[in-house]
C-alpha cells in the first residue's frame, strides 16, 4: 500500500459559467468534491465537459463563478495547479523523444513519485519500446505513455479527459486499478469517458452537463 497524499483539500465550484463565441455552454454550475471521491462528467458532445476540465486546470478562465481549493480561490493557491495531473485529448508527449526520455522528462518536471522509470515501463507494457521514438508508437501506445504521467508524479488531483481512448482491455483494467489505488490514498479524480469504466467500490458522483 502506498503512502497517503499529503496535499489534499475540498474542491468547490460555485455558480460557474462558460461561454464560447458568446454561446452559453453551461451556467450556474455548482460542484463540490472531497478527497477519496470521483466526479464523473456526462453529457452529449459540445455540452462543455472538456471546457469544464480545462477551466479546472486553469487553462481556460471561467466567464463567471468561483473555484476554491480548501476555501481559497485557486488563483491564490499556486500549489493547486502544481498538484494536478492532467491527461487531456492531447497526449503531451514529444514525438522526437524516446519513450524513456519522455517518462524521465515527466518525472524531472514535477513532484516525482518514488517509482522507477523501468518499473513504469514494465507495468504499462512499453519496456521493449523504451528506446523507440514516440513518433513510431501506435495511438494506443501513445495513450499509455500519456497516462503513465499519473504514475510518475505524486499529485493528489487527477483530471482525465477521455483517458481510455484506443486502449486495449488489459491496459484499461490496469489503469482502473491505478485509479482505485489513487482514491484509496486520499486522491481526487474528475473524468469524462465514453467507455464503460469499472469504478466499483468507489464513491462516484455523476454530473450531467446536458441538463
Amino acid at each position: 500500500m502506498e503512502k497517503q497524499y499529503l496535499f489534499t483539500a475540498d474542491l468547490n465550484v460555485k455558480n460557474l459559467a462558460c461561454l464560447r463565441n458568446e454561446q452559453v455552454l453551461f451556467s450556474g454550475l455548482n460542484v463540490s468534491l472531497s478527497p477519496e471521491n470521483v466526479l464523473f462528467l456526462e453529457g452529449e458532445n459540445g455540452s462543455g465537459k472538456t471546457s469544464l476540465l480545462r477551466i479546472l486546470c486553469g487553462f481556460r478562465l471561467p466567464d463567471e463563478g468561483d473555484i476554491t481549493w480548501g476555501n481559497q480561490s485557486i488563483s491564490s493557491v499556486p500549489e493547486y495547479s502544481q498538484n494536478i495531473s492532467y491527461v487531456g485529448h492531447k497526449n503531451g508527449i514529444k514525438d522526437e523523444l524516446t519513450v524513456e526520455e519522455n517518462l524521465n522528462l515527466m518525472r524531472s518536471m514535477a513532484t516525482a513519485s518514488d517509482i522507477e522509470t523501468e518499473s513504469v515501463l514494465k507495468q504499462i507494457g512499453l519496456f521493449k519500446q523504451a528506446d523507440v521514438l514516440s513518433r513510431q508508437l501506435s495511438a494506443g501506445q501513445k495513450r499509455k505513455l500519456a497516462l503513465a504521467r499519473l504514475m510518475m508524479t505524486n499529485n493528489s488531483f487527477w483530471i482525465l479527459d477521455e483517458p481510455f481512448t484506443s486502449l486495449d482491455k488489459a491496459t484499461v483494467v490496469f489503469f482502473e486499478s491505478l485509479i482505485k489505488q489513487h482514491i484509496a490514498r486520499g486522491g481526487m479524480l474528475i473524468l469524462t469517458s465514453h467507455h464503460d469504466i469499472d469504478l466499483s467500490g468507489l464513491s462516484v458522483h455523476h454530473l450531467n452537463l446536458s441538463n
Partner: protein
C-alpha cells in the same frame, strides 16, 4: 481603502453594459453637438482668424488638422493599452470593447495625420513624401494599429481575441517610445535637421488657441464615435441578454 472601494463601486456600475448603454445614449447628443460647435469654431479661427505664417504662408494652416490628428493617434493607442490592461486584470467586458472599438478610430486619425502631413510636405519640400521623423513615426504607428486589428479579426472567440490584443497593445505601448526615439535618431543622422514648424515652441498665441480648440474638438469626436461603436458592439454581443430584449421591446412599442 474606502476611497478605493467607492471608486471601484462606481467603476463597476459604469462598466455594467445596460448602465453604460443608457448613460452613453443620454450623453451622445451633447458630446456630438459640442464637437460640431468647437470644430466649426476651431476651423474658423484657424483658417480665417489666425495670422499668416511669415515663412510658410497659408500652407501652414493644415497643422490645425494635422497636429490634433497626430496627438489623437498617440492618445488613442495609450487608451487602448490602458483599457486593455484593465480588461486583462479585472476581466471587464466594457474595457475590452472600448479597447477594440478604439482601434479603427485611432488608425483613422493616424491615417489622417499621415495624409495631411504629406499634403503639407508638397509645398514645403516639393514632394509628397519625406522620411521626416514625425511622418515616419506616424507610419509605424499605423502599422501597429494594423497589427492590433489583424490579430483581433483572426481570433474567433472575441473575448480571447480581446485579451490577446490587450497584450499586444501593452507590448506596443512599451515599444512606442523606443520606436519614436530610434526614428528621431535615425532621422537626424540621415537627413540633417528638417525645417519643421510642427514643434516650434514659440508658437504665437493667436495660432495656439485655434489649435487647442481643434484638439478638444477631436477628443470629443473620438469620445462620440467611440460611444457609438461601443453601443453597437454591446448590442451585438449581448443580444441574448435580458436588457437588450427589453430594450427592443420598448423600442418596437
Amino acid at each position: 481603502m474606502n476611497i478605493f472601494g467607492s471608486i471601484k463601486r462606481l467603476y463597476h456600475q459604469f462598466a455594467s453594459p445596460p448602465y453604460f448603454y443608457r448613460i452613453s445614449g443620454l450623453w451622445l447628443p451633447y458630446i456630438m453637438g459640442l464637437f460640431v460647435l468647437l470644430f466649426a469654431a476651431g476651423l474658423y479661427s484657424g483658417l480665417i482668424l489666425a495670422p499668416i505664417d511669415y515663412e510658410q504662408g497659408e500652407a501652414y494652416r493644415i497643422i490645425y488638422v494635422h497636429v490634433p490628428a497626430a496627438w489623437m493617434s498617440m492618445f488613442i493607442y495609450i487608451v487602448m493599452a490602458i483599457t486593455g490592461a484593465i480588461g486583462l486584470i479585472w476581466r471587464l467586458k466594457l474595457a475590452e470593447i472600448v479597447m477594440i472599438s478604439s482601434a479603427p478610430i485611432g488608425a483613422s486619425f493616424t491615417f489622417l495625420a499621415l495624409v495631411t502631413g504629406s499634403i503639407w510636405g508638397k509645398p514645403m519640400w516639393n514632394t509628397w513624401w519625406v522620411w521626416d521623423a514625425r511622418l515616419t513615426s506616424e507610419l509605424l504607428l499605423l502599422f501597429l494599429y494594423f497589427g492590433v486589428m489583424a490579430l483581433y479579426n483572426a481570433i474567433e472567440d472575441k473575448r480571447t481575441a480581446a485579451r490577446a490584443v490587450a497584450i499586444l497593445a501593452l507590448v506596443g505601448v512599451v515599444n512606442i517610445p523606443i520606436i519614436h526615439y530610434s526614428v528621431e535618431w535615425w532621422n537626424t543622422l540621415h537627413q540633417g535637421p528638417t525645417i519643421t514648424k510642427f514643434d516650434k515652441p514659440s508658437i504665437h498665441l493667436s495660432m495656439l488657441v485655434p489649435l487647442l480648440i481643434m484638439a478638444v474638438a477631436f477628443k470629443l469626436f473620438y469620445i462620440g464615435s467611440l460611444f457609438m461603436r461601443v453601443r453597437t458592439e454591446l448590442l451585438a454581443r449581448e443580444q441574448k441578454s435580458k436588457w437588450v430584449t427589453q430594450l427592443l421591446e420598448t423600442k418596437s412599442n
